[in-house]
């Protein structure tokens, strides 16, 4: 049953209704609902009829869904200009490595224009950036580049890990008056979960979530690293070790408070992500915890990341690149 049908069939009740769907379907559903709710929401991107976008193309006319020529460096700016003049575009940049072409417009225009004009304009635009990797598509199609944008003031960056969060955060992003980068980890696209059917159920930007409560160590898992982290949590549980899994959900602005409260409780911190190690989200969290919570730590922080090397093509080379459940188990045990 589709979310729409589920909602229509649901009895009027104040109880939150849920429907089970995939992460990718949740993203598509969020866009459909927001486009139905608000005429100003439009969608732009290359080949947008694929990867679930077909449902959107079928439902809305060409004035709402714009198929782009291969011009990331400029259609990104077209979205920004449209956002400033009354629309709320969702700019689908498709494969994450393409965001570099678009980065001048994202950084020099979207992120800065509100500030540089003293608040005269606002830039309500969402950039969808899909991170593919682990699929033998080599370095130019396999990046996880959110870390680069963490260093840009004026942006908001989300990277949810569950279908419910994907839907709720994307809806918040579309309704937000500032530019939001949505880094989707395609490793999570197939993840199923219960998603609220209420079209106004939002997940706020800037608030982390405890995906699993625990007492012995805190594991902050970013984006696609959530899957092996939850697997590691189940393995550790069998050994009588309880980890608390924190999902930042929003990478910028980071909800450091939730992380610190967890570290206060456990005294141990592992950070797991699939981006490269240097100046990563893990680096930032480790630094912030060192500054504000060093006294809470019983052991040094461990970062598990992709190494500082490009994603190779050959499966045998790529297989070792990203932290897996076993590495997370080992890291946690090392801290105990």
């Amino acid at each position: 049953m589709s979310a729409q049908a589920a909602r229509a069939a649901a009895p009027a009740s104040k109880e939150v209704q849920h429907v089970r769907m995939s992460y990718l379907d949740a993203i598509v559903q969020a866009q459909i609902e927001e486009m139905e709710r608000d005429d100003r929401v439009i969608m732009m991107g290359e080949d947008i009829a694929i990867y679930g976008g077909g449902k959107i193309v079928e439902r809305f006319d060409a004035n709402r869904v714009w198929a782009m020529p291969i011009s990331e460096g400029s259609f990104t700016g077209v979205g920004i200009g449209a956002a400033i003049t009354g629309l709320r575009p969702i700019v689908d940049l498709n494969i994450a490595s393409f965001v570099y072409l678009a980065s001048d417009q994202i950084i020099n225009q979207a992120a800065k224009l509100r500030y540089m004009t003293g608040g005269q304009v606002q830039v309500p635009v969402v950039f969808r950036v899909c991170m593919y990797y682990g699929a033998s598509i080599a370095a130019q199609h396999s990046d996880r580049p959110y870390s680069l944008f963490l260093n840009v003031p004026g942006l908001k960056i989300i990277s949810p890990t569950s279908p419910a969060d994907a839907k709720g955060l994307l809806k918040s992003a579309i309704r937000d008056d500032d530019p939001v980068l949505f880094f989707e980890d395609t490793k999570l696209w197939a993840t199923k979960g219960d998603v609220p059917t209420d079209p106004d159920a939002l997940v706020p930007i800037g608030v982390a979530d405890i995906k699993r409560a625990g007492t012995d160590a805190t594991v902050v898992a970013i984006s696609g690293a959530m899957r092996p982290t939850l697997e590691a949590a189940r393995t550790l549980e069998k050994d009588g070790i309880s980890i608390e899994v924190v999902d930042p959900r929003t990478l910028k602005p980071l909800d450091l408070g939730t992380i610190l409260r967890s570290v206060q409780k456990t005294g141990r911190l592992v950070i797991v992500e699939n981006a490269h190690r240097i100046a990563s989200m893990s680096s930032e969290i480790a630094a912030a915890v060192a500054e504000e919570g060093l006294h809470m730590l019983k052991k040094p922080v461990i970062r598990l990341t992709a190494p500082d090397v490009h994603v190779p093509f050959s499966p045998v080379l790529e297989a070792t690149l990203f932290p897996d459940a076993q590495q997370i188990v080992t890291a946690v045990k090392k801290l105990l």
Partner: protein, 330 residues
């Protein structure tokens, strides 16, 4: 269609406002009362005002690092602009933009981009927005001859043509991208000719002749409002001052002093239009009175700017986000 008499006076007034604002601004900059860099629009007034006169207040506009002329040409108040140059709290951009970014949204400007070519996609997006919202607004995009060689020019003009967006691409071709001439940077010298490759009209006008610029832009605006799509207009103009006030380029290797003098003395757009007004029967005394009122307006703007407070450093983060995240969780 030509400018009528009252529009002609208004056009002259706007050109004079740019000229006097820039002269005084340059003086204040040299005196150390304006921080940063100062790029004056002197010499390019007809290209700017001729274009702006064809627009409505609500039409969108984007500009460049040489940003002062654009809001003035579109009719902005001078006080907030001068205060911005001085980095004051009352500046149009609250002291966050400065000389290269004098964007006044109350007259439709959404940004003045100091990244060359950066405004071209934005203006194209304004055009797309107007089309989606089914208004008859148009967007006008100012950029220089240097920006034509950026990828954004190519990509944006292709999209505007593809979807028949209501955009006027107005190239202020002053002949030089800082010191690099069109001859040394363009494979073929006609910027207007490039339009043909995108399937849109390309028009080249004398950017020192106000009426010519106006007529070309007016035709392009009408075409855009009718839903017939974009136009590329190359206005051949000239920058009288150095790229940046106070910039000293040894031996002036890229343009001769004679060339500059020739333009200043025979191709001054304001002098040329003043002559037209006199020929049309506007009295010398009327023109003088108009000029004096502009001088007074600029003086008033300077006084306002100088008396205005500086921004409070405690408000450094103001305007960064529209809805700052409350750090409740911390």
């Amino acid at each position: 269609v030509s400018l009528d008499e009252s529009q002609s006076r208004e056009a002259y007034r706007r050109m004079m406002r740019i000229r006097k604002f820039e002269e005084e601004g340059s003086r204040l900059y040299t005196a150390g009362r304006i921080p940063g860099a100062y790029h004056a629009s002197i010499g390019e007034e007809a290209a700017i005002v001729g274009a702006c006169m064809a627009l409505r207040n609500e039409d969108a506009m984007t500009g460049t690092h040489r940003s002062h002329g654009h809001p003035i040409g579109k009719g902005a108040d001078l006080k907030g602009l001068m205060a911005e140059l001085m980095g004051k709290a009352t500046g149009i951009c609250k002291g966050r933009g400065g000389s290269m970014h004098l964007a006044d949204n109350s007259v439709g400007i959404i940004g003045e981009s100091a990244i060359v070519g950066g405004g071209i996609p934005l203006a194209t997006g304004c055009g797309l927005s107007a089309k989606v919202r089914r208004t008859d607004q148009v967007a006008l995009c100012f950029f220089g001859d240097g920006a034509v060689n950026q990828g954004t020019f190519h990509e944006s003009l292709n999209m505007a043509s593809l979807w028949k967006l209501p955009v006027i691409y107005l190239c202020e071709n002053n002949g030089y991208a800082i010191t690099t001439s069109v001859a040394r940077s363009h494979g073929q010298p006609s910027i207007a000719l490039r339009a043909e490759g995108y399937g849109m009209p390309g028009v080249c006008v004398d950017g020192q002749i106000l009426q010519d610029v106006y007529e070309a832009v007016e035709a392009a605006v009408n075409r855009a409002r009718r839903g017939e799509g974009p136009t590329l207009i190359e206005a051949r103009t000239y920058r009288f001052d150095e790229h940046q006030v106070g910039l000293f380029i040894e031996k002036n290797p890229y343009r001769s002093n004679d060339e500059v003098t020739l333009h200043r003395t025979t191709r001054d757009p304001i002098a040329l239009f003043r002559k037209v007004l006199l020929e049309r029967g506007v009295k010398e005394s009327e023109i003088t009175a108009l000029e004096e009122s502009v001088v007074a307006e600029v003086a008033e703007a300077i006084q306002f700017a100088e008396q205005s407070p500086l921004p409070d450093p405690a408000g450094l983060y103001d305007f960064l986000y529209s809805n700052p995240i409350v750090e409740a969780a911390r």
